[in-house]
Symmetry: C2
Subunit: 209 residues, 2 copies
DNA sequence: AAGTCGCCCCTACTGCGAGTAACCTTACTG
DNA sequence: CAGTAAGGTTACTCGCAGTAGGGGCGACTT
């Protein structure tokens, strides 16, 4: 009899996620069947349901894990810098480097270009919210210390969301122009959101130290 | 026998789209069945397939139509203004007002908050591209006339995409805070992308004339 | 040593909904 | 008043998400 090894839950979940992530990333949610993931992980469909509840649950697990790691990387970067501009710059560098090193995770989180994006965008929205919060806090602190609390209250959160969205979409754009370096993407976001288009048009460019 | 009127294709397509749009907008792609749309439009499923080819085709038709109208509104606005800042500002106002008046179309195009977003994001990407191109052209013209062609070539397109993304996501954020006026959303995008966070933090706010 | 509990894993189904084949019927054409 | 195209239907197939129910093996009691 084939001595098929029995594997503890945690390890098997890991295998399933490892199989599912690149599949979801490359073909999109719809084009991946649960059976496929199951057999890829050496088991059958009901195991996937036992561990993740549903196909959506499986996808969410992939996306949530990706989101957690991305946000963790960003938080760690933020903890190492205090100056606002530097913090932004280093944060962007961290994010774009993370994207380059985790293309599958990024694609699952924020949608791959070829196949349709991901449904069930909750983890992506959640990741964006957490990243936006990091920026919002920075923003509010800086403005408060300059007696501009009112501006902060009103604009910080939505502007932070806009900032994150700009960065995320620059990431999407990047996926289609992969020859460029991460640093250039980060620089562009800084030009756009830190200096502002108005300044750039008048020749005021931003540059890291 | 019930004298159910037979309806010409163009008109029936219109009905189907009219039924499908709010359904997709409120419940998302997955939770809507083709049968539902068909009966809602007074016919049966095969008619939908005869006219739109597939469920995806039906969705794309909704989204593409929304995209066309949004872009058309923006193009018309752009044609009425030449000054870069004013053009941006009026364009943003146009977009946010359009969103307020076409919430369903907007939700189908760029994903509703409650239900999962939409798969098959091609029309959304296409709309973003076309809006970004409007901005890119403006951007390149302005920079070229100042002898900064090199900057333009390298940064205009990706920055324009970042700009559009920021505006789109501000629109998403707005859907969850619908009490605020369109003007405030537009103003925030200007603060973020025209002035830049750096300027805002130093107290330089932007305001329409 | 024998019960028994819980975990890992399977075969074999149900059911829903996308997509299709084949046919009917009304209305307009020469 | 055929002939034909366009609007419309019933009645299927099929793929896949999700489930029911059961089997075996280790670990922990007693």
């Amino acid at each position: 009899m084939t001595v098929v090894k029995r594997v503890p839950r945690a390890e098997r979940e890991e295998q399933m996620l490892a199989v599912a992530l690149p599949l979801f990333a490359e073909r999109g949610y719809h084009a991946v069947s649960v059976d496929e993931v199951a057999t890829g992980a050496g088991v059958t469909k009901p195991m996937v349901y036992a561990y993740f509840g549903s196909k959506e649950g499986l996808f969410q697990a992939c996306a949530t894990r990706a989101a957690d790691r991305l946000v963790a990387a960003l938080e760690q970067s933020a903890a190492h810098h205090t100056d606002p501009a530097e913090r932004m710059w280093e944060g962007l560098l961290t994010v774009f480097r993370w994207i380059a090193e985790h293309r599958h995770a990024w694609a699952v989180l924020y949608g791959s270009p070829g196949s349709g994006g991901s449904p069930f965008a909750a983890p992506a929205a959640n990741a964006s919210d957490r990243m936006a919060r990091l920026i919002t806090d920075q923003f509010v602190d800086t403005l408060r210390s300059q007696g501009m609390g009112a501006v902060a209250e009103q604009h910080a959160a939505p502007m932070a969301h806009g900032f994150v969205a700009a960065a995320v979409n620059m990431g999407r754009w990047w996926m289609e122009h992969p020859e460029e370096p991460a640093e250039l993407q980060a620089l562009r976001v800084m030009q756009l959101t830190w200096n502002g288009i108005g300044n750039v048009m008048e020749g005021r460019l931003w540059a890291p130290r």
